[in-house]
């Protein structure tokens, strides 16, 4: 029996979630079969082979990065190979593909899974529900194949074991191009107006930044991290940043993956505007600042010392 791992790639690059999916698959102690489909994907297949027992490569220009085409290719492969589990990311792509496969093949599906527990022939999964405040174990209906999408960041790619599997090239079995759903292309969201509500990473500055001259320091950190600069109300009051950057009940309510609060004491109205962030990190001189009561990580120090250091470290990590 095998575990299928659907490999996500975009514009010639493998997505992180693919490695996390491989990691999840390896933990099931079964044959790990990575599926790489698309056009000109043999390079990618070689990178994936390092961590899989086998890589199935379905080269087909008709796939054209169309999720529906991927679905149909996977459908054929599952029917043919009958894997025990199909794992992919609970990503934008996985959300498009996995449920469709489930209905097409009549296979049970569990999405956004944080833990997979095989129990004999059965599969039990753990999901994090109600805003992560509750964990729930689910049993999947008995079936030959189970479809599971995993939550990003829950299965660390650091744990991957090298397997150096073989690569098998198969026919994609995609008969025609998908007629009713055409991939048009990728677009960068309109740049210009900065929308802090849409950013995944917000580097947010407060009074602790002390001087308008120091704003570029924070700007550079935000850029290095791939995030956007936001701020608390006084910074707008001082005229150091425009109103669109203001986080709080009277400004913008934000829910980034990371909110890095620099020199923000954490007035109630500010906190109310950012408490939905997945992760809050605060840097403040004052260990009693209320911001620390909502932060997961804190550094008690002068932000003007921490910002350049952090910019440097992030640059190093990102290479």
């Amino acid at each position: 029996m095998a575990v299928f791992v659907f490999i996500e790639h975009r514009e010639g690059k493998l997505m992180d979630i693919s490695f996390e999916s491989l990691s999840a698959a390896q933990k099931l102690n079964d044959t790990v079969v990575a599926v790489v489909a698309g056009e000109n994907v043999s390079d990618l297949a070689e990178k994936v082979a390092k961590y899989a027992d086998k890589v199935i490569v379905a080269e087909d220009p008709k796939i054209d990065t169309n999720n529906e085409a991927y679905t149909r290719v996977l459908n054929e492969l599952i029917k043919k190979e009958k894997p025990k589990v199909v794992i992919m990311g609970h990503s934008s792509m996985g959300m498009d593909i996995a449920p469709a496969l489930s209905v097409d093949l009549g296979l049970p599906i569990a999405t956004d899974v944080v833990k997979i527990n095989p129990e004999g022939g059965k599969i039990k999964v753990t999901r994090s529900i109600y805003n992560g405040k509750v964990l729930a174990d689910y049993n999947l209906k008995n079936a030959d194949t189970y479809i599971i999408t995993i939550r990003a960041g829950e299965f660390s790619a650091d744990d991957l074991k090298e397997k150096n599997g073989k690569i098998e090239i198969v026919d994609s079995l995609l008969k025609d191009e998908v007629a009713d759903k055409k991939f048009v292309g990728y677009v960068q969201p309109v740049v210009g107006a900065v929308d802090i509500t849409q950013a995944d990473i917000l580097v947010s500055v407060g009074r602790g930044i002390k001087d308008k001259e120091n704003i570029p320091l924070a700007e550079e950190l935000a850029k290095t991290m791939g995030g956007v600069l936001s701020c608390s109300r006084p910074i707008v009051d001082y005229g150091w940043l425009p109103k669109e950057r203001q986080v709080g009940t009277s400004g913008k309510t934000v829910k980034p993956k990371l909110y890095l609060a620099l020199g923000i004491s954490g007035a109630f109205q500010h906190v109310a505007g950012m408490k939905g962030a997945n992760m809050i990190v605060a840097v403040n001189k004052d260990p009693k600042a209320p911001i620390f009561s909502v932060a997961q990580y804190g550094i008690v120090d002068d932000i003007l010392k921490v910002i350049p250091a952090l910019t440097q470290k992030v640059k190093e990590i990102k290479g």
């Binding site: 009074r207 009051d237 009940t249 309510t253 007035a267 109630f268 109205q269």
Partner: protein, 395 residues
């Protein structure tokens, strides 16, 4: 002609009678720093249509301090016209997202702060004093109405705790409603959501009635004003709509009135206090002062504190400078540019040598705390509620 709920602004507010003297705009707390021009709004109420209104985002700049209504020589109610214009937008769903979230939160969570009902009583954690809970079967003469902001805002929760300690020391027979305390709805009404306010009036009158509450001490002048004035009007409205509401006459006082009464009756005296050797300036909240002419009680309380050096703002009482905290401004930045009134206020206090700005309103606390820091008085000046000062000095 603008219309709301099938009634024209002419019928509701006599807008045709406006003589365009500009007293409203001239008096307006924010007209110098925002696009808001109330006189023009009076004109729009006559000549505009509901679509024109969408172009006037400054409608959300009004703090509803009410001074335009207090001063209007034609005895019109410009501040109510603003609220009415807002309600046109509210009915059409065309409100800034931050206002929308606050209103939705009032509807869903009974507070505008997006906080769960189940955490409303968190301010009482580690209080160290037993407080009666009127929603849990306890009985008391007074309900101490905390209000949403003083229940949830971590800074302002301190006022609530001080209030409980002070009233307990004075032997007042009072209780709170804990998690069951509802939103008074004042801000909902001022943001133009009169339907929601009406619903709250109905619910709250029933709730007060069920828990045997008729005498209320409020922390917030906004709640005071709502219970005192708006609840009466809306109760009438509900009755006209054929909705049954308990025949409950609320006996409401703001806490400064209550404490001033305690002083008059000899139950709160200087002898009971340690010295407070600081220069203090009192900031009049609009909903206590301008809207309700309560100028003296807060000053009376402060004046009996031994050692206090009480100074006065140039602009005080009728001419007090609004802190910009009311009228939904907690949830909307609006079109304002330049220095906030709260910063001007802090600077004026600084010029008076004040070490403490004494406030009697949660919104004033919130805005002035900010103004004080922005004006650079983080180290040298504090903003304290009168309850907090009393809590500090009472032996």
């Amino acid at each position: 002609m603008m219309e709301v709920e099938e009634a024209s602004f002419d019928k509701l507010y006599d807008v045709y009678a406006c003589m365009q003297c500009g007293k409203c705009t001239g008096s307006c707390a924010v007209s110098l720093r925002t696009k808001l021009n109330i006189r023009e709004m009076m004109r729009i109420a006559i000549l505009g249509n509901n679509d024109d209104l969408k172009e006037h985002e400054e409608i959300w700049d009004c703090t509803t301090c009410g001074i335009c209504t207090v001063r209007c020589p034609r005895d019109l109610k410009p501040s109510e016209v603003i609220v009415g214009l807002r309600s046109v937008l509210v009915e059409e769903g065309e409100v800034p997202s931050t206002i929308r979230d606050a209103l939705e939160s009032i509807g869903n969570n009974n507070n505008p702060w997006g906080r769960p009902k189940s955490k409303r009583a968190d301010w009482m954690n580690d209080l160290g004093v037993e407080v009666k809970n009127l929603s849990a079967g306890d009985e008391a003469e007074y309900l101490l109405y905390i209000g949403c902001t003083a229940s949830y805002d971590t800074r302002i929760q301190k006022i609530s705790r001080a209030a409980v300690r002070v009233l307990t020391k004075l032997g007042v027979d009072f209780g709170v409603l804990g998690e069951e305390e509802p939103c008074c709805g004042s801000e909902a009404r001022m943001m133009g959501e009169s339907g929601l306010f009406e619903m709250l009036v109905e619910d709250n009158l029933n709730l007060f009635n069920d828990f045997g509450i008729s005498k209320i001490i409020t922390l917030s002048p906004h709640a005071y004003n709502a219970f005192k004035t708006d609840y009466k009007d809306y109760k009438k409205r509900l009755e006209e709509e054929g909705i049954e509401v308990p025949d409950l006459e609320l006996d409401v006082v703001h806490y400064t009135q209550f404490l001033a009464e305690q002083i008059d009756e000899g139950r709160l005296t200087s002898d009971m206090m340690n010295e407070f050797n600081k220069t203090v300036v009192y900031h009049d909240p609009c909903y206590l002062g301008k809207r309700n002419n309560i100028f003296e009680p807060p000053r009376q309380i402060l004046s009996i504190i031994p050692g206090i050096n009480l100074v006065e703002f140039e602009r005080r009482e009728d001419r007090s400078l609004c802190c910009e905290g009311g009228g939904g401004k907690m949830w909307s930045e609006g079109t304002g540019t330049g220095e906030r009134n709260a910063v001007i206020r802090a600077r004026d206090a600084g010029a008076l040598g004040a070490e403490v700005i004494a406030v009697a309103c949660p919104f004033c606390m919130s805005t002035l705390e900010d103004g004080r820091s922005t004006a650079g008085y983080e180290e040298s000046m504090e903003v304290k509620d009168i309850f907090e000062i009393l809590d500090e000095v009472l032996k």
